[in-house]
C-alpha cells in the first residue's frame, strides 16, 4: 500500500507544476484524501481534472489504493 508521501511524490512528478497535499483520513491507509493544485487543470471540467490525477495511479485505485478522495484546483491568480 503506497504511503501518503509516495502518493504526493507521484502526483507532483506526473502533473506539471502541481502541489499535492495527501492525508490519511482514517489512519489505516485505506482512505486517502488529496488536494491537488496545478495550472494544468485550467479550463478542464472537474471530471477531467480528477481523471488526470486518477490516471497517475491507473488500476491501483480500487486495488492497493482503496479510496482516494480528491479536490483539485487551479492556483489562484497572482
Amino acid at each position: 500500500m503506497p504511503t501518503t508521501d509516495e502518493i504526493k511524490r507521484r502526483i507532483e512528478a506526473a502533473i506539471p507544476e502541481s502541489t499535492a497535499e495527501v492525508e490519511d483520513w482514517t489512519g489505516t491507509g485505506d482512505h486517502l484524501r488529496a488536494t491537488v493544485v496545478s495550472p494544468a487543470f485550467a479550463g478542464l471540467s472537474r471530471i477531467a481534472q480528477h481523471r488526470l490525477v486518477y490516471d497517475v495511479f491507473g488500476a491501483e485505485i480500487g486495488g492497493p489504493i482503496h479510496a482516494l478522495s480528491l479536490t483539485t484546483r487551479v492556483p489562484e491568480q497572482a
Binding site: I47, Y54, G62, T71
Partner: protein, 132 residues
C-alpha cells in the same frame, strides 16, 4: 478474451441510457455499503432527486465494465442524461455549491443540510438479475 457480446456492458449502457439520473453504488439507497455511496445518496435525497440505483457489489464484472465505459475508477458514479456527473467528491462539491441541483434541473432547498434522510422510494435495479 474479447467477444462481440458483452451482456454486462450492454446492460450497464442500457441502464445509463434509459434512466435520466442513475447512481452506481455499493449497496442500495436504503442500505449503502460504503460511506462514499451513502454521502452521494444523501445529497440526491436532500434535493428530492428521483434516481435509479444499481448496486455494483453482486458481481465484480459490473464495476469492471462500468469503469471501462465511464473511464472512471471509483464508486459511486452518478450519471445524468447519459453523462458522467462525477463520483462522491464531485457530487458533494456540486451539492454544496448548488450546481448539482442546477445540473439535475432541481431546486436547491433553502437550507441544504446533508442529514441522513429517510429512505426514499427508488428501488434498486439489478443488473445481475437481467442476465440470463
Amino acid at each position: 478474451m474479447s467477444s462481440d457480446t458483452n451482456p454486462i456492458r450492454d446492460a450497464i449502457a442500457e441502464a445509463i441510457r434509459d434512466n435520466k439520473t442513475i447512481l452506481f453504488m455499493k449497496g442500495n439507497p436504503e442500505a449503502p455499503a460504503c460511506g462514499f455511496s451513502a454521502r452521494t445518496v444523501a445529497a440526491l435525497q436532500a434535493l428530492d432527486a428521483p434516481f435509479a440505483a444499481v448496486d455494483i457489489l453482486p458481481d465484480p464484472r459490473i464495476r469492471q465494465e462500468l469503469s471501462a465505459i465511464s473511464n472512471w475508477p471509483t464508486i459511486p458514479q452518478l450519471f445524468f442524461e447519459g453523462e458522467l456527473v462525477g463520483g462522491c467528491d464531485i457530487v458533494m462539491e456540486m451539492f454544496e455549491s448548488g450546481e448539482l441541483a442546477e445540473t439535475l434541473g432541481l431546486e436547491q432547498p433553502a437550507a441544504a443540510p446533508v442529514a441522513v434522510p429517510d429512505a426514499g422510494g427508488s428501488a434498486p435495479l439489478g443488473i445481475e438479475n437481467r442476465l440470463s
